[in-house]
């Protein structure tokens, strides 16, 4: 085994002289983290853009005006941008061009129907090319119409009186005064319950049994480790592909007649790829802190994760090389395996989005466990909780390395003189 350091040094020198591909693969996770950050907002910023809702008020009554005004008040104003239009045709044209998430149509006689005690209906046309924003617009509109309905029910007597006034041409002052007093009394009686509302609703996320979340995972701190794990596998592959190149260029044959054993040669590749992987991961972690202010958690835990994860990646890539004999096969099998594993393991989208049976398959991928470990470190989970994952990673990595060492050796010896 004494030749391994010499071979590792030689491989390091070679990669140092031509680092473009490795740097390129390191650059991709950073670029993606940057883009995801812009698109979905870093840190605690709002994640969704303001919703554009077109409104066409064909009624132009006090009640229809209340409906649209209520939707652009307070907190709602930050979420929704109302664009009043004159005609339905204009609204439909804009919606069809994808210029808004929805078009709210208030029909003629909306106000009168309500005052007459009839049910009134408003129509929300949703943009069919959008998934999320029209649903939010629907919820907001539905809640506002519910509030309007509730107010109408609460003030039904007063509304009836107003209806009577509208039908009369001459309004007696005394009736208006009575109505004012009634409304005032009504407000006083309800103020106990609604100014402010006695029932409030709070939303919370729990991380584990009864424990409220303290550290939140930002977009950057999810994307960078997820992408990094995927491209670390590609980097590791760059190192391993040298096995086939050295075989084809007969360097391996020359090495084989020296005192170096084939086992040493294979283990040197495993060690080199693990070491280069570690170096790249540390660079990415550093750049993640510098560029995106990512909080990675306890340094010691992070160091151990990087160490164990790269042992696992090196073992896994070595294992795949057990089945590969030519560069062509390497191109086909390796990228397929890496991409599928990354897709299932959460490097391309959070595993939580998958149905439960795919989530079970995700647990068979190294991306999943690497991401879990990074997430635990970021959430400041105790070292004891992290330890089983780290232990599993190292164990699997070493086991895979031993298996692959045997098979790669067998394959290489077979084809050495071809």
């Amino acid at each position: 085994m004494r030749h391994i350091p010499i071979l590792v040094k030689k491989d390091f020198k070679r990669k140092w002289k031509n680092p473009v591909v490795i740097i390129g693969f390191m650059l991709i996770p950073l670029v993606f983290t940057f883009i995801f950050g812009i698109v979905f907002g870093g840190q605690d910023e709002e994640t969704l853009p303001r919703i554009t809702l077109l409104t066409v008020d064909n009624d132009k009554s006090l009640i229809s005006n209340f409906l649209s005004t209520a939707m652009s008040q307070g907190e709602l104003k930050k979420m929704i941008e109302l664009k009043p239009l004159e005609t339905e045709e204009e609204g439909r044209q804009l919606l069809n061009k994808g210029k808004a998430s929805g078009l709210l149509l208030i029909p003629k006689n909306f106000g009168n129907d309500i005052l007459d005690g009839k049910k009134a209906e408003v129509l929300l046309l949703k943009n069919p090319s959008e998934q999320f924003l029209p649903l939010i617009a629907e919820e907001i509109t539905d809640t506002t119409t519910l509030i309007l309905s509730s107010l109408l029910s609460v003030f039904s007597e007063e509304v009836d009186t107003i209806r009577g006034f509208i039908e009369m041409n001459n309004l007696p002052d005394i009736d208006i005064s009575v109505l004012s007093v009634k409304v005032k009394n009504r407000f006083e009686s309800i103020s106990k319950y609604v100014f402010p509302p006695v029932i409030s609703l709070k939303q919370e996320t729990i991380t584990e049994e009864g424990k409220e979340g303290t550290e939140s995972i930002t977009v950057h701190s999810y994307v960078l480790p997820a992408m990094a794990i995927m491209f670390l596998m590609f980097i590791c592959n760059v190192v391993f592909s040298d096995i086939l190149i050295e075989k084809e260029t007969k360097t391996l044959l020359r090495l084989n007649v020296s005192r170096m054993s084939m086992t040493e040669f294979i283990w040197s590749k495993i060690v080199t790829s693990a070491l280069i992987g570690m170096l790249c991961t540390f660079c990415l972690i550093g750049l993640g802190i510098g560029m995106f202010s990512i909080y990675w958690g306890n340094l010691f835990s992070v160091f151990l994760i990087v160490f164990c994860l790269n042992i696992l990646i090196a073992g896994f890539i070595a294992f795949l090389y057990s089945f590969i004999k030519t560069e062509l096969q390497a191109g086909a099998v390796l990228s397929s395996a890496i991409l599928i594993m990354s897709l299932l393991g959460g490097s391309m989208m959070p595993v939580d989005n998958f149905p439960s049976f795919i989530q079970q398959i995700s647990k068979l991928t190294l991306n999943y466990w690497g991401l879990e470990a990074f997430k635990m470190a970021m959430m400041n989970e105790s070292f004891g909780q992290l330890l089983p994952i780290l232990f599993g990673m190292v164990l699997a990595g070493i086991l895979l390395s031993f298996i692959s060492s045997y098979f790669i050796q067998k394959n290489l010896k077979k084809g050495l003189l071809k």
């Binding site: 650059l27 069919p128 629907e138 539905d142 109408l152 709070k202």
Partner: protein
């Protein structure tokens, strides 16, 4: 004729590669399947949501609130012990009824375990909020003197919603880009990028390196027929992939492809023409294969992400929507939206086709200008 022979030869070379069928069919299908499953419920307001309720108050008012929560869309399960807080739970605190009738503020809590659907959480939040509004309205209408008074008077209360919201989808087609309906067009665009950029660029580079381009040039083939043949072969490969994936989308995943298949075909054709030109341009200016691979992975993913293939373009800030239209992917996704989700015809995508022709002209010009026969 020479142009066609060159194109045929390129297609043969591409098809011979074992990896080609992975990129053409296997990967796209895996992606379509998994992404389709992951986003299958998004954008539909009728998906069932499970809501647990921990009723610590056990009063008539808390029961009334729970009754309000039970609808077709919500599966409500009531728990009584603290340790049963799980998944997505509404906690009605002790003293809820007493506080409400005394006019003192009380807080309901909606808790969710990390990792559960955020969309379902938002839906549940707004559902609970609406139930609370209804309860408040009923209390105000009854104006009870005591909780018992409310219990007695409530059955006689005639409360009905007088303002109703009806929703419909705009456009001609009643479909939204969720599940496979979104994953088929977006994955098709992503994999056209991968297939054409990778194969288009790398094969050209290889041919130049091995001197095959030079050999073709020494034959009666003209410079233009070589470029034309290469460009045509890539377009055919791209269109082959589009056709296969859309057909599988239709017959395997049951997605609707819009009322105008010629429009869908035409817009895809010009997209493939653009990317083919692009692949030849980068295959000419980048000299090393490994750098070309890394560059193409980056470029394909960047264009896919910024163009709206990875996530719905609606969720990005306005500035990013403008940025998406700087890329051919932004225009093709916009065209697919108009054709598939809005259900419009060819006239709606004329602007997209014009822009894609512009992109094609630009990259074809660059490809011709920088095309090199020799290494």
């Amino acid at each position: 004729m020479t142009l066609w022979t060159i194109a045929q030869n390129d297609i043969k070379l591409t098809i011979k590669d074992k990896m080609f069928f992975f990129w053409l069919l296997v990967f796209p299908l895996i992606f379509i399947f998994i992404f389709g499953l992951a986003f299958r419920d998004m954008g539909t307001s009728d998906t069932q949501v499970t809501l647990n309720v921990l009723d610590k108050d056990k009063s008539h008012l808390s029961k009334t609130l729970i009754e309000e929560l039970v609808t077709e869309k919500y599966v409500v399960e009531v728990f009584e012990k603290d340790e049963e807080i799980s998944f997505r739970t509404l906690i009605i605190p002790e003293g809820f009824s007493k506080n409400v009738f005394a006019g003192e503020q009380i807080e309901l809590k909606l808790v969710q375990e990390q990792g559960n659907s955020l969309e379902a959480m938002q839906s549940a939040y707004s559902h609970v909020l609406k139930a609370a509004i209804k309860i408040l309205a009923k209390i105000v209408m009854v104006s009870p003197e005591s909780p018992q008074d409310f219990e007695e008077k409530l059955p006689r209360l005639n409360w009905e919603r007088r303002v109703i919201l009806r929703t419909e989808l705009g456009g001609e087609i009643k479909a939204i880009p969720a599940g496979y309906t979104h994953s088929v067009p977006s994955s098709t665009v992503v994999f056209i990028l991968f297939t054409l950029l990778m194969y288009g660029g790398i094969i050209l580079l290889e041919e130049r390196r091995q001197g095959r381009l030079e050999r073709i040039y020494l034959s009666p083939a003209t410079f233009i027929s070589i470029i034309g043949g290469k460009w045509l072969s890539r377009i055919i490969i791209g269109m082959f992939q589009v056709t296969i994936l859309f057909l599988l989308g239709k017959f395997l995943f049951g997605i609707y492809l819009g009322p105008s298949l010629p429009a869908l075909f035409l817009v895809s054709l010009f997209f493939c023409a653009t990317i083919s030109g692009m692949s030849m341009f980068f295959g000419s200016i980048i000299k090393k294969e490994e750098i070309l691979i890394v560059f193409n992975i980056l470029l394909a993913n960047l264009m896919a992400a910024l163009g709206g293939c990875w996530w719905p373009i609606e969720v990005v800030p306005k500035g990013m929507k403008t940025v998406s239209m700087l890329f051919p992917t932004g225009w093709i996704m916009d065209a697919y939206n108009k054709l598939i989700f809005f259900g419009f015809g060819l006239e709606s995508v004329l602007i997209n086709i014009t822009v894609l022709i512009g992109f094609t002209a630009l990259f074809l010009f660059l490809a011709i200008k920088f095309f090199k026969i020799r290494k």
